[in-house]
């Protein structure tokens, strides 16, 4: 890596290797997930937490309005 950088490789996007037309974003299931069976569960947890926060904030607004 550092050798490649020394010679200036990597300064041009076109020299970065893997073409990006085939880099269409897809859920990466190969990456290890910490403490959960898969990434979808972790993403769902983030969205569920957001939903709970919105409900709490709404209740908070209504309770003291």
């Amino acid at each position: 890596m550092s050798d490649a950088r020394e010679s200036g490789v990597g300064s041009r996007g076109s020299e970065l290797g893997s073409p990006t037309t085939s880099e269409a974003p897809t859920p990466d299931t190969r990456q290890p997930t910490p403490g959960a069976p898969n990434w979808r569960l972790i993403y769902s947890a983030v969205i569920i937490e957001l939903t709970i926060l919105i409900v709490i904030f709404y209740a908070f607004t209504k309770a003291f309005a």
Binding site: G8, G13, S18, Q31, Y58, F60, T61
Partner: protein
């Protein structure tokens, strides 16, 4: 400021600078200097991401927003967790696999050097100016409240940041940000505890909530859709998601934070933890402001919190008029305090009719008080045409200086300066990366060695630091600073996001079409900003949607071009 406050403040700042310089002392190659050797773990990444976004403006201006406008500003962050999930799925794996230094490098693989250079330049302009505001905000506010020299404060804080950012690079920035954010949040927590503790002894916490709520300060969620309202659920969720997608997915100051991850997993977790913690954190900071508001229902606040403007109007031809407004404000405060007491008594007695009557009276006097404050602001404007007639940014620090005990004032000031330093350092760090990687090494000297690039990165950090300090000297008249930073960003973020979405999700759009689409999207945003009343969060949506659609339409009329990537595929 008492001696103990100075000791706490100077001790904290010196310790942070020394720690940052020591952490980044080892000699590095470009990867080590700009991306901390891609070795960081998710807790550091998450805190670094949060510290980059949470500048001093967050800690000074946000409580003031809650004081003047209630907690509805929290809705601005509702789209952020959604953006974190989308970026974890899309951008993180792509950036990691390509082993890039900057987000803009990726664009060249898809659209060519023109689009890469355009987005790099848009970033350099926007981030360069924002970093100046980030530095300017605390300097302005402490100079007004404490009478410090704003120029000296700007220069001292700016140079402290430049020292460890230039010498240690990204590793120093990320490591110090962890401590800076913890100090900043600690300072806010202490301020909150003291604000609540300073309420009259017979007022319980729930009663404080009720007073704030009935006076419209706990309005965290508003589902009413109005495109001209800055903060409601829909603008926060949709406009905020677009803004967050663009900020975290394409702004090098944030992308650089998670490019330092040792794996895709670490980078993703850093972003997702940010998504989970950011909304409650902002709620907490706004809540501090709401409690300061309740505190000032029992203790008379000044008519106008900016002491410098107050002094100027008091010695102007409008002095008598201002004095009359102050007397009026004092009468209204006395009336309001009596109404608050009446409300509390009615609520304790569970007397609904009396509670409703006291609430109506309270809202009435509050409206009159707001009108008096508006009249004072207008008088200040007449005294000094073009002067900052908003005192939102001064409310929290006035409370801190006037009512917090010795030592705690120093801690809160240290917290504010830590926040300013953390956001400024990542701004400078990312500006240096883009300058060296996307401009110097791409357009100037493609075969520059690592040693040359590291040396230039350090020089570039110093140069951008000096630019930020210079801009900070001129960054007045911006109203609420947290709005100013986000409005400035919203002028460009939608367009930049459009380019990245085209890169991620379309296969046939050429560099020319993307470039023209971006220019059309940017023109639409500028038109919205100059010629319409559309709330600025929607500028992000307009820039992105117009940019994408324009590129798709242009693509139909220009001959299909092969991207660099396609050409590379064919030739291999």
């Amino acid at each position: 400021m008492r001696p103990i406050d100075w000791i706490v403040l100077i001790g904290t700042l010196v310790a942070i600078v020394a720690y940052g310089t020591w952490k980044g002392r080892h000699k590095k190659d470009l990867d080590g200097y700009l991306l901390a050797g891609r070795q960081l773990k998710w807790p550091t990444i998450a805190l670094s991401i949060m510290a980059t976004q949470a500048s001093a403006i967050t800690f000074l201006s946000t409580p003031g927003q809650a004081y003047t406008d209630g907690m509805r500003f929290v809705q601005f962050y509702l789209g952020l967790p959604i953006a974190m999930v989308i970026l974890s799925i899309t951008a993180v794996p792509i950036y990691h696999r390509l082993k890039i230094f900057t987000a803009y490098e990726y664009l060249e693989t898809r659209f060519g050097v023109g689009t890469r250079t355009l987005t790099s330049l848009l970033f350099l302009i926007q981030r360069g100016l924002s970093t100046g505001i980030t530095l300017y905000a605390p300097a302005l506010i402490v100079s007004v409240i404490l009478g410090w020299n704003i120029h000296v404060t700007n220069v001292v804080v700016g140079l402290l940041v430049v020292i460890y950012t230039a010498s240690g690079g990204t590793k120093a920035v990320s490591r110090t940000q962890v401590h800076q954010l913890l100090i900043a949040l600690g300072g806010m927590a202490v301020a909150l505890i003291i604000a609540i503790h300073s309420l009259p002894q017979d007022v319980t916490l729930v009663e404080a909530f009720r007073v704030a709520g009935r006076m419209g300060r706990l309005n965290a969620i508003d589902f009413h859709f109005d495109p001209k309202t800055q903060y409601n659920f829909w603008s926060g969720l949709i406009g905020g998601a677009f803004l967050a997608l663009s900020y975290f997915g394409t702004d090098q100051s944030q992308v650089q934070r998670y490019l330092t991850g040792s794996s895709i997993t670490e980078s993703r977790l850093g972003l997702l933890i940010n998504g989970m913690v950011k909304v409650p954190m902002q709620f907490f900071i706004l809540f501090v402001g709401a409690m300061v508001f309740v505190f000032y229902q029992f203790v008379a606040p000044p008519l106008f919190f900016n002491t410098v403007q107050r002094a100027k109007v008091s010695t102007s031809q409008y002095a008598a008029e201002y004095e009359k407004l102050e007397a009026q404000h004092q009468t209204q405060f006395t009336e309001k305090r009596a109404d608050v007491q009446r409300l509390l008594t009615a609520m304790r007695a569970h007397d609904d009719a009396a509670t409703a009557s006291a609430t109506t009276a309270l809202r009435d006097v509050q409206q009159r008080e707001t009108a008096t404050r508006t009249a004072a602001a207008s008088l200040i404007n007449r005294t000094q045409p073009g002067a900052d007639n908003s005192d939102t940014n001064y409310i929290f620090l006035t409370f801190v200086i006037d009512y917090l005990p010795a030592g705690v004032v120093g801690l809160v000031l240290a917290a504010i300066f830590c926040a300013a330093m953390s956001a400024t350092s990542s701004g400078l760090n990312s500006l240096a990366s883009t300058t060296v990687v996307d401009i110097f090494r791409r357009l100037g000297k493609p075969h520059a060695t690592d040693a040359e690039c590291v040396r230039l990165s350090k020089l570039s950090t110093i140069a951008w630091g000096l630019f930020a300090i210079a801009f900070a000297e001129f960054a007045n008249r911006l109203g609420s600073l947290i709005e100013a930073v986000n409005k400035l960003g919203s002028l460009f973020y939608g367009t930049i996001l459009a380019i990245f979405l085209l890169a991620f999700y379309t296969k046939r759009v050429s560099g020319t079409a993307a470039f023209l689409g971006a220019l059309i999207g940017e023109a639409a945003v500028v038109w919205c900003a100059l010629a319409t009343d559309l709330a600025w969060l929607w500028w992000n949506v307009i820039g992105c949607v117009v940019g994408v659609l324009a590129a798709l339409i242009v693509q139909r009329f220009v001959p299909e071009q092969r991207t660099n990537a396609e050409t590379a595929q064919l030739s291999s």
